[in-house]
């Protein structure tokens, strides 16, 4: 990974991003605005599952309304995240927080996709029932905290070695 990171850092595209004073903070700003919107969309669906909001609407309606926001945001986050990796390969790829973040991301996306497919396949029953099964509620809370963890790990990349000590790759 060290070799890959130094190769990537040597590419012209990486140096264009890295040598600019404003590109990294600008891409990060887009990244932040986008994950905030993602959190909003996820929160609404999770609150509906928990019965804390939108109880007058079926879960099918709420999911259909906000799923495009979830996947749209994830696409923008992937694109801006990729630019940040290209711009600062060592900071991202050699960071323990980054890999914890990527692992949580995989789990978070699997839960989101599985949930969406489940709702789509059970539209009829979801439309009628007001409340959801306890297991779904547990998954809603779990999934929300996974996304909170993804954001936390993303921010901790900046202090990786301070936070994780020897778990973080040593400079």
């Amino acid at each position: 990974m060290h070799e890959f990171a130094s190769w990537l850092a040597g590419t012209a595209f990486s140096q264009t991003i890295a040598s600019s004073l404003w590109m990294i903070p600008a891409i990060q700003s887009v990244h932040i605005v986008t994950f905030a919107v993602l959190i909003g969309a996820l929160l609404i669906v999770d609150l509906r599952i928990l019965g804390l909001a939108s109880k007058d609407q079926s879960l099918v309606v709420v999911t259909r309304r906000y799923a495009p926001w979830v996947w749209g945001c994830i696409a923008v986050l992937a694109a801006t995240g990729l630019l940040l990796i290209i711009g600062e390969p060592a900071r991202e790829l050699l960071s323990f927080s980054f890999w914890v973040k990527m692992s949580l991301l995989v789990v978070g996306m699997i839960i989101a996709a599985a949930f969406q497919i489940h709702v789509r396949n059970n539209q009829a029953s979801w439309g009628e029932t007001e409340t959801v099964q306890p297991a779904t509620k547990i998954f809603a809370v779990l999934s929300f905290f996974i996304w909170v963890g993804i954001i936390a790990m993303g921010r901790l990349i900046a202090w990786d070695a301070d936070i994780w000590g020897s778990l973080s790759p040593q400079p």
């Binding site: 903070p25 700003s29 959190i39 909003g40 969309a41 936390a152 070695a161 301070d162």
Partner: protein, 192 residues
Amino acid sequence: MDYYSFFAAIENSAIGAFVRETLNVLPIVNVFHVLGIALVFGTIFMVDMRLIGLQSVTRPVSRVANDLLKWTWVGFALAAVTGLLMFAANATTFYVNLQFQLKMVALAFAGLNMVVFELVTARNMAIWDGERRTPPSARFAGFASITLWVLVIILGRWIGYTKGFNFSAPPAGDLDLDNLFGAISLVQTAVG
């Protein structure tokens, strides 16, 4: 008017010194600041999009707002408390920092926009509550809100890239997870 000595006193206070000098407190406070921001913008964005007429248009504005705005306030409280802690740690450098000053101005305008909406525009909301197309004043409020909050986020991010901050944590020991949990318990001790 110069408040430099006032902010120097904040910086030298016990809480300022604690955040600045205790291992990993600053990163953890920063993480919660970002989570607060995500909650604020994520929720208010969906309400603003309803006002503009691009989201949840079949649902009354009041219901969309009622579902979400309480969470905006939870996020704002979290962002404000953590923001104050970070401010206290480097108060004088924040005070003279242009990006920080502009962020506070943008924040004030976001608040003003909200007050005008609540006191003027929303006064006759019952009339247009269920309408897909809200009045121009409401659409303006939604658009202004998104613009101002994005500005707050951009300026906030820029603060971190302007020099002069003591944002680095004290040198870490050999402990791994103990560092993290040690810092959390220190925060808990400090809070209560």
